[in-house]
């Protein structure tokens, strides 16, 4: 218990440092961009009072101070939980981020709930039949799937759904239907929201628009799963303790899952955690193809309108995905492997 608290403390402390680094990098990148955030903050004023208004905005945004002070003040604000107000829309940054991020997260989580079990099962299956025809076919499928650009599969699937099946999968929800039925987002996860409001018709509408993009996003974890599990399982199956379990007459299923597979869970979690972070890019691409709102559209909007507060906040939150994934990996490893202490 003490050890875990100690670990948590260390992890948080370390993460804060990483986040500070990320803030510095992104702040500098955004400030380098052309355009004047101060003018935007003042509402792009024209006429005689304009310069004064912009000057006032500049002071308000700390842009009049030297660069290092700007950065320090910004870090201070972020760490004290004050992510500020969006410069372009003047709404709190966090709400703007959440409405978009919930969409992306819904897609990603749904895709991984489909993808991880399929990838792992196929990977185990192919590792048990290495060198046979079935194993080779599975391996090749994993290979092709992991090397296909997501926009390509996205477009192909979109074509299939709209032209062949005649199902529209554009957008997140039928907006007309949603307005008529009085749908209101609560958590931001539309699948949950529609269920809470007991709206089965809308639930299926959301589901049918979620499934095609989710299939595309899930191809990456499926492909990676097959390849990584095949490699890890092949190594695990040649461990001494697996051979010993076989010699002791332990049943085949127990040997595969309790002895061999248990040992690869930490490595698998690490790879899956990392691929979840990489899938963010896939999710942005797929959202673009399927016309869904999400982190991609949010970021483009923020950068186009020089909304550096929104952009930096989004970057920080996306980057922290990586830290969260690492933390989960560590916890899983300590949970599975008794030799590892947190």
């Amino acid at each position: 218990m003490v050890a875990s608290l100690n670990y948590l403390f260390k992890r948080v402390f370390y993460s804060v440092f990483i986040v500070i680094g990320i803030i510095v990098v992104t702040y500098l990148l955004i400030i380098l961009s052309p355009g004047d955030p101060a003018a935007r903050w003042a509402g792009n004023p024209r006429g005689p009072g304009a310069e004064k208004a912009i000057e006032f905005a500049r002071v308000e945004l700390n842009l009049d101070k030297p660069l290092y002070l700007q950065v320090i003040l910004f870090i201070y604000n972020v760490l004290t939980g004050n992510l500020g107000v969006s410069i372009s829309t003047k709404t709190p940054v966090l709400t703007a981020i959440w409405t978009h991020m919930s969409s992306t997260l819904e897609l990603l989580i749904f895709a991984y709930i489909i993808g991880i079990p399929i990838g792992v099962l196929l990977g185990v299956f192919s590792s048990l039949r290495r060198g046979s025809f079935k194993g080779d076919v599975l391996e090749s499928i994993g290979f092709i799937v992991a090397n296909t650009p997501s926009f390509w599969t996205g477009m192909a699937l979109f074509l299939v759904f709209s032209e062949v099946l005649g199902v529209s999968s554009y957008g997140r929800i039928d907006t007309r239907l949603a307005t008529i039925m009085g749908f209101k987002p609560i958590t931001g996860f539309y699948l949950i929201d529609t269920l809470i409001q007991g709206n089965i018709i809308l639930f299926f509408d959301v589901l049918k628009r979620l499934i095609p993009p989710a299939i595309v996003v899930s191809l990456y974890p499926i492909g990676t799963g097959i390849r990584v599990v095949r490699v890890l399982m092949s190594e695990a199956l040649s461990e001494d303790y697996v051979k010993q379990a076989i010699a002791l007459g332990v049943s085949r299923r127990t040997v595969i899952w309790d002895y061999a597979f248990k040992g690869i869970i930490p490595g698998l979690t690490q790879v899956m955690g990392l691929s979840f972070v990489y899938s963010l890019v896939d999710a942005m691409v797929v959202e673009y193809v399927f016309g869904r709102e999400g982190l991609g559209s949010l970021l483009v909007g923020a950068v186009v309108s020089n909304d550096f507060k929104l952009a930096v906040a989004t970057l920080i939150i996306i980057s922290s995905f990586y830290i969260i994934a690492n933390t989960i990996t560590d916890i899983v490893q300590a949970w599975i492997d008794p030799r590892v202490k947190l």
Binding site: E239, D240, Y241, K243, Q244, A245, I246, A247, L248, G249, V250, S251, T254, D258, Y259, K262, G263, I336, D337, P338, R339
Partner: protein, 320 residues
């Protein structure tokens, strides 16, 4: 006399990366009687571990087999067909060379016992009683069950590994170099443990070792292996005191003995590379008693109930 393990012309080889076969065990006829401690002795690379693995059913998938292996009347190897269904863990079980890496690091000792005992249809309560009883005969407390392997010492792990293979209820235990990682003064203790196990559980033990002293001390019968063949097989005392095969004799001569002023001998030359199949005696190059005939003639003779693979064994020199 019931035969626990019997092999007829058994050969085992491994496929290399170019799909050629390297023969490691060649044409072995072996008879292990029920309830005895049978010892496979030989230098490293002579194929004793491979032979042991074939009994325990843990031959790697890229191995090739010829001949027959019969365990309690079940034909487990018939040329290229290998079927250990209902034999592995039921009739045979394996005591690994390195207990540290042979226990799953992710499970408590109890969980590993449970997975073995579950196969026999025991419920959790009786399984626990059974495990405790087995550990008790190996002088380990019940507390061990709650530990992970990395929390135990090497000697305890060794006994846990023995306990696990006893838990299978198998009739034949194959112990692969059980003493190689044990301190000298514990070796005899371990051998006594094996004898006790044999007496208490009525099992047959196939002991693989390179230590010829240990073979003489602890075993009922000995098979001396050289270059994949059993060159001599017989009861341990007579094989080691009155060797019939030249190799056995040299092997016995190189053993250093405290208190005896004896110049240490060594066997000249090196054992042949595995994989070569040829006529005649494999020991030809190193044999001090060789002659022309040995180059392409070798025959198995039975003398005093001992079998020796040499056409002119050292029978007259030792008995006369």
């Amino acid at each position: 006399m019931v035969l626990a393990v019997e092999s007829k012309g058994l050969s085992i080889g491994y496929l290399d990366e170019e799909d050629r076969v390297l023969w490691v065990v060649k044409n072995v006829d072996m008879q292990v009687r029920e309830g005895e401690i049978y010892c496979l002795v030989g230098e490293s690379g002579c194929g004793k571990t491979t032979l042991g693995s074939s009994i325990a059913g843990v031959l790697p998938p890229y191995s090739v087999t010829r001949g027959e292996l019969i365990i309690y009347g079940r034909r487990v190897i018939k040329d290229d067909l290998r079927s250990y269904e209902g034999v592995r863990g039921k009739l045979t079980s394996y005591i690994p060379q390195n207990p540290g890496s042979s226990l799953s690091p992710y499970m408590r000792i109890w969980d590993q016992f449970w997975r073995v005992l579950r196969e026999q249809g025991l419920n959790e309560k009786t399984a626990k009683e059974r495990a405790t009883a087995i550990l008790k005969t190996l002088s380990l407390g019940q507390g061990v069950l709650e530990h992970y392997p990395h929390e135990l010492s090497g000697g305890m792990l060794q006994r846990v590994a023995i306990g696990l293979s006893l838990a299978t209820g198998a009739k034949v235990l194959v112990a692969d170099e059980p003493t190689s990682s044990v301190d000298a003064h514990l070796k005899l203790q371990l051998m006594r443990l094996f004898k006790d196990v044999r007496d208490n559980y009525g099992v047959t033990i196939v002991l693989i070792t390179h230590d010829i002293l240990l073979a003489g001390k602890a075993c009922d019968r000995v098979a001396v292996m050289y270059a994949g063949e059993i060159v001599e097989e017989g009861d341990s005392i007579s094989v080691l005191t009155r060797p019939l095969h030249p190799y056995t004799k040299l092997l016995v001569d190189v053993v250093p003995l405290l208190g005896f002023k004896k110049t240490l001998a060594s066997i000249p030359g090196e054992p042949p590379k595995p994989g070569l199949l040829r006529e005649g005696c494999y020991f030809y190059e190193r044999c001090p008693f060789r002659d022309e005939v040995c180059l392409n003639h070798v025959e198995t003779q039975v003398i005093d109930g001992r079998r020796v693979k040499c056409w002119k064994p050292l029978v007259d020199k030792t008995t006369s």
